[in-house]
C-alpha cells in the first residue's frame, strides 16, 4: 500500500509539470496582457509602458519567463501580483479563510441534509416525499444559480424585514456588517443566503446520488438475508444498507474537495464575498499572471491529490479493493 501511494505521488509530479507548462503557455497566448489596462490611457505613454514591461520582465521570451517562474516556485515563491504588488501567497492568504468558511459550511450543510433525504427517498421510493424531493432536486439542478442568488437578495434583503431591527431580514452580502467585524453571530447571519444558494445545487446532486446508491444496496441479497433472519427494518437499513450505500459517496466528496479551495465565482460575486473564486476571476480579467498561475497550480495539486485520497480511503473502507 505504501509502495503504491509513493508510486502514485511520484507519477503526479510529471503530470503537474505538464499542467503548469500548458497553463503558462495558454495564459501567455491570451490576447492582451497585464499592461493592456495602460494602453488606452491618455495619461500614459510608450516610454512609461516600455519601462513597465522591462520591470515585469514581459519582454523575455515565454520559455525564459516560464523557467524564471519555476525557479522561484522551487523556493516556494509564487512572486508578486502585477497589479497590487503584494506577494501572491499573501493575497491568497487573505482570501482563503473566507472561501473555506463559506464553502466548508455549505459542504457540511449539504452532507447533513442530503444523506438523510437521499436515504429516505430511496426507502420510501415513489412516496409523496420521494416525488417532492425529486422535483426539487431537478429544479435545483436546472435553475441558473446567479438568478437564484439575485432572487434570494430581492426577497430576503429588499422585501422582507427583520422583526427585531426593522432592517432587512438578511444582508445583501459581505462577510460582516461594517460595525460588526469579527462578530460570530453577525458572520453567521451573513452566511445564510450564500449557503442557501450554494447548497441548493449541491444537495440536488447529492440526494440523487445517494438515492440511487441506496436503492441498489437495499436490493442486494445480504439485505434480504438480514430481513429474513428477523432483524428490525430500521436496524437493517442503519447497520447493513447505509454503510455500504455511502461508500461510493467518498469519491464524490473527494472530487469536490478542491472546490473548497477554489471557491464559487457566482456565489461570491452575487453576495460580495471576498473569496478565491472572485480572486481568480478578477485576476483573469486583469491578466495578473502570477496570481492566476498560483491559483491554477494549487487547484491542480489539490485535484490530483484528492483523487489519490479517494483511492486510498476507498481501499481502507472496502476490503474488496486492493492496490499493489
Amino acid at each position: 500500500m505504501g509502495n503504491y501511494l509513493a508510486r502514485r505521488s511520484l507519477q503526479a509530479i510529471p503530470l503537474l509539470i505538464i499542467i503548469s507548462m500548458v497553463v503558462f503557455a495558454l495564459l501567455q497566448a491570451t490576447p492582451g496582457g497585464p499592461l493592456a489596462r495602460f494602453e488606452n490611457d491618455p495619461t500614459i505613454n510608450e516610454a512609461d509602458l516600455k519601462a513597465l514591461r522591462q520591470k515585469y520582465g514581459l519582454d523575455d521570451p515565454i520559455p525564459v519567463r516560464y523557467l524564471k517562474w519555476v525557479g522561484s516556485l522551487v523556493r516556494l515563491d509564487f512572486g508578486n501580483s502585477y497589479i497590487t504588488q503584494q506577494p501572491v501567497l499573501e493575497i491568497i492568504g487573505e482570501r482563503l479563510p473566507n472561501t473555506l468558511r463559506l464553502m466548508a459550511t455549505a459542504f457540511i450543510v449539504t452532507l447533513l441534509l442530503s444523506i438523510p433525504i437521499g436515504i429516505i427517498s430511496a426507502i420510501k421510493q415513489y412516496s409523496i416525499f420521494d416525488h417532492v424531493v425529486t422535483s426539487i432536486a431537478f429544479a435545483g439542478q436546472s435553475i441558473p444559480i446567479f438568478w437564484f442568488g439575485l432572487l434570494l437578495i430581492i426577497v430576503f434583503y429588499s422585501k422582507l424585514k427583520s422583526p427585531w431591527s426593522g432592517g432587512p431580514l438578511f444582508p445583501a452580502g459581505g462577510i460582516y456588517s461594517l460595525d460588526q467585524q469579527g462578530n460570530f453571530w453577525d458572520g453567521l447571519w451573513h452566511m445564510f443566503l450564500p449557503i442557501t444558494m450554494l447548497s441548493l445545487a449541491w444537495i440536488s446532486w447529492y440526494t440523487r446520488f445517494l438515492r440511487s446508491s441506496m436503492l441498489e444496496t437495499i436490493n442486494q441479497d445480504y439485505i434480504r438475508t438480514a430481513r429474513a433472519k428477523g432483524l428490525r427494518e430500521i436496524w437493517t437499513i442503519l447497520k447493513h444498507a447505509f454503510p455500504n450505500a455511502v461508500i461510493p459517496l467518498i469519491t464524490l466528496i473527494a472530487l469536490d474537495l478542491p472546490t473548497l479551495f477554489a471557491g464559487a465565482v457566482y456565489t461570491e460575486t452575487i453576495f460580495s464575498w471576498p473569496g478565491m473564486g472572485r480572486l481568480f476571476f478578477q485576476s483573469a480579467m486583469r491578466r495578473d499572471y502570477p496570481v492566476l498561475m498560483a491559483v491554477v497550480m494549487i487547484t491542480a495539486v489539490l485535484i490530483v491529490f484528492s483523487n489519490l485520497l479517494a483511492d486510498f480511503v476507498y481501499a481502507l473502507v472496502d476490503p474488496r479493493i486492493r492496490y499493489g
Binding site: 492582451g32 493592456a36 445583501a172 462578530n183 458572520g187
Partner: protein
C-alpha cells in the same frame, strides 16, 4: 469485521472533517476585535436605526472591485484615484469649470505673477504654511522634492516617470518654496504634481513598489486611511489635523466592494449605501423613479470617434504609405462622414444622453467651435460617383471604376472594429452600417475584447500595425490636451519600426501644417494664445476626415439625496471636494 471498521473509519472521517472545517470559522475572525454576542441580527444601517452616536455619520460608496493600490504613482486606474484623492492632495487642481485653484500651493503660478519665467522653463511654487500631514508633522518643500524623486524614477515602479522627463531639477529654496527647472517648456507644468504630494517619510524613493504606504497611505487631505479588508471594504476616517476648521463634516467614508451591479442598485434603494459610482446608463429609469436618489452628471472627456486608416492595411508596413485603396481618398472619407446622421444617433439612439462633438477640442478652457457636417446622403452619393465608385452590378454596393487608388472592380466594403461589452457602442456601429448602406458603402462590424483592440506594438496589435480599415472607440484629452493631441495627430507619432511603435497616430495622418500648429502650441505658456492655435488645428483635423467625431459621454454618479454640498467635476475624481460634503440624518 470489515463492516464495523468501515463504519468507524467513516465516522472518524466525518468527525475529523467537521472539526477541521468548524475550526476555520474562529480562525478567520481571530484577528478582528473581540466579538460581542448579540441575540438579534445587527442592522446593516448603523447611522439610521441602531443609533451609533456619530453626529457626522458615514457615507458608503459602492465600488465594483478593489483599487489596485493607493499610491497615485503606481496606478492609472480611475477607481484608485477616486479613493486616494480624499487622502493625497496636489499643489493645484482644476475646479468643476476647468479653472486651476490652489490646494497645497498658496497661488497658481503664472507668467503674470512672476512664478513662471518668460520662456516657461522655471516655475516657482509657494507652498501653504499651515498644512500638516495627518500624523501632525509639517508639510514642507522637502516632501515635494521627495515626490519628484520617487515619481520620476522609472526603476521605482512609477508609471508617471515620463511626465517628469523634461524636469531638470526640483529644489527646495526654503521650507515653503520649491523651484522646478525644465530643459524646455512643459505645457503641463501646472499638472506636474497633479497626482498628489507624498510624505517624505514614505520610504526609499527608489523602492516605491515595496512601500507600506501603497496600502496604508498618509496624506494631507480631509480624510486619512483607517482600514482595508481586501475584497470587502476600505475605510477612510476624517483627518483631525485637516487644515480647515470644522471640515470634513463626515466621520467616515467607506468604499464597499459589491461586484454585482444588481445588488449595488438594491443597496442604494434600501439606503444601505449613499453613492454608486458610474452607474450604467441603463439604470436611469431606476434613479428617476426613486425620490431618494439623484443622478449627477457632467460631460466626460471621452469622445467616441471613428479612426479611418489612411494607409494600406495588411501590407506588413505600419507606415503612412502606400495609401489605403479606399480610405486613402479624402473624398470617400468625407462622403462617409456626410452619410452618417450623427444627430439621429445622439437623439434617437442615445436618447440625448450624449453630446455631439466635432473636434478633439470639446471641453473646458480649450473648447473650440467647429461647425458640424450636415447629414446629406445625396451629396455623399454624388461624391462617391465622382470619386470613381459606382454600383454597376446592382447588388447595392459600389465598385471601383476609375477610383483614385483602388483597382477597378474593388468593392466599397470596409471592416469596422470596436470593443465588446459596450451596448451603446455596438448599437451605434450597427446604425452607422445601416446608414452607410444607403449610400452604397458596405460596413462589416466585428468587435473584439478591449485588451485585444488596445494591444501593444510587441503584441503586433492591428491598431499599432495599421492593419485595419476603421476603428471605433472612445478616447480623450485631459485638462491639458497637448500630449493627447501630439500623440494622436503628429506625423512623427505614427507607430513604425523606426520609432519602435510609439505614438497613437493610428490613422496614419500626415499634415505638415498640423505638425507646425501642434509643436507651436507645445511651446506657448499663455493659455489664451494656445487655445487660438488649438482651434485652428481643430478645423484642419475635422476637414481631414481622418477621424470622424461622433459624441461625448456623460459621466457621473448616483447620490443619496442625504448628501449635499458636493459637486461632480469633469476634471477630478469623485472625492475632490469631499471636505465640503454634508450628510443629512
Amino acid at each position: 469485521m470489515f463492516q464495523k471498521r468501515s463504519i468507524q473509519t467513516l465516522f472518524y472521517l466525518i468527525i475529523a472533517l467537521s472539526l477541521a472545517l468548524t475550526a476555520c470559522g474562529p480562525a478567520a475572525t481571530s484577528t478582528a476585535p473581540p466579538a460581542q454576542p448579540t441575540k438579534a441580527p445587527p442592522s446593516t444601517e448603523p447611522t439610521a436605526t441602531e443609533g451609533v452616536p456619530a453626529p457626522s455619520g458615514r457615507v458608503v460608496i459602492l465600488v465594483s472591485e478593489d483599487p489596485d493600490t493607493l499610491n497615485p504613482y503606481l496606478t492609472t486606474a480611475l477607481l484608485a484615484s477616486q479613493i486616494y484623492t480624499a487622502v493625497t492632495e496636489p499643489l493645484v487642481q482644476p475646479d468643476q469649470n476647468g479653472e486651476y485653484q490652489p490646494v497645497l500651493a498658496e497661488r497658481v503660478p503664472t507668467t503674470k505673477n512672476g512664478d513662471v519665467s518668460a520662456d516657461g522653463t522655471e516655475v516657482t511654487w509657494h507652498l501653504r504654511k499651515d498644512v500638516v500631514w495627518s500624523d501632525n508633522t509639517p508639510f514642507t518643500a522637502a516632501d515635494v522634492v521627495f515626490t519628484y524623486k520617487a515619481a520620476s524614477n522609472a526603476d521605482s515602479g512609477s508609471v508617471r516617470s515620463s511626465a517628469f522627463s523634461k524636469v531638470v531639477s526640483v529644489e527646495a529654496v526654503d521650507d515653503y518654496t520649491v523651484v522646478v527647472k525644465y530643459s524646455e517648456f512643459n505645457s503641463s507644468f501646472l499638472d506636474q504634481f497633479q497626482w498628489g504630494i507624498l510624505p517624505s517619510s514614505a520610504g526609499d524613493p527608489a523602492d516605491m513598489l515595496n512601500w507600506d504606504f501603497n496600502r496604508h497611505p498618509m496624506g494631507t487631505g480631509p480624510f486619512m486611511f483607517k482600514e482595508w479588508v481586501t475584497g470587502d471594504h476600505l475605510t477612510l476616517a476624517a483627518n483631525p489635523n485637516y487644515r480647515e476648521q470644522g471640515k470634513p463634516a463626515i466621520a467616515e467614508l467607506v468604499f464597499q466592494v459589491v461586484p454585482s451591479e444588481e445588488v449595488r442598485v438594491q443597496m442604494m434603494q434600501q439606503g444601505d449605501a449613499q453613492i454608486m459610482m458610474w452607474p450604467g446608463s441603463n439604470l436611469r429609469d431606476v434613479w428617476e423613479a426613486d425620490p431618494n436618489i439623484q443622478l449627477e452628471l457632467v460631460p466626460g472627456i471621452y469622445i467616441l470617434r471613428m479612426f479611418l486608416n489612411l494607409s494600406m492595411p495588411n501590407d506588413g508596413d505600419p507606415g503612412p504609405t502606400p495609401p489605403h485603396p479606399i480610405l486613402g481618398d479624402e473624398n470617400v472619407r468625407k462622403a462617409i462622414a456626410l452619410g452618417i446622421d450623427v444627430n439621429s444617433i445622439v437623439n434617437d439612439l442615445a436618447l440625448g444622453r450624449v453630446t455631439r462633438v466635432t473636434s478633439p477640442f470639446a471641453l473646458g478652457w480649450y473648447k473650440c467651435d467647429v461647425p458640424p457636417d450636415p447629414y446629406d446622403p445625396e451629396t455623399a452619393k454624388a461624391m462617391l460617383e465622382k470619386a470613381g465608385w459606382v454600383d454597376t452590378n446592382g447588388d447595392g454596393i459600389r465598385e471601383a471604376h476609375g477610383a483614385k487608388y483602388a483597382p477597378d472592380g474593388t468593392k466599397l466594403s470596409l471592416s469596422m472594429v470596436g470593443y465588446t461589452d459596450f451596448k451603446l457602442l455596438e448599437q451605434t456601429e450597427l446604425v452607422m452600417a445601416d446608414m452607410l448602406k444607403e449610400i452604397g458603402v458596405d460596413l462589416q462590424v466585428s468587435n473584439v475584447e478591449m485588451s485585444v483592440l488596445f494591444g501593444s506594438w510587441a503584441d503586433k496589435a492591428p491598431r499599432k500595425m495599421g492593419d485595419f480599415d476603421i476603428l471605433v472607440y472612445d478616447t480623450g484629452a485631459g485638462i491639458n490636451p497637448q500630449t493627447h493631441i501630439a500623440d494622436y495627430f503628429l506625423s512623427t507619432n505614427i507607430p513604425t519600426d523606426a520609432n519602435g511603435g510609439t505614438g497613437a497616430n493610428y490613422t496614419r495622418w500626415v499634415n505638415p501644417q498640423a505638425d507646425d500648429l501642434i509643436n507651436q502650441a507645445g511651446r506657448t505658456p499663455d493659455l489664451a494664445d494656445r487655445k487660438a492655435l488649438y482651434c485652428q488645428l481643430g478645423q484642419i483635423i475635422h476637414d481631414s476626415y481622418s477621424q470622424i467625431f461622433l459624441y461625448q459621454f456623460q459621466e457621473g454618479h448616483a447620490f443619496s439625496t442625504r448628501i449635499s454640498g458636493n459637486q461632480v467635476s469633469t476634471w477630478a475624481p469623485l472625492t475632490w471636494d469631499v471636505e465640503n460634503w454634508t450628510l443629512a440624518p
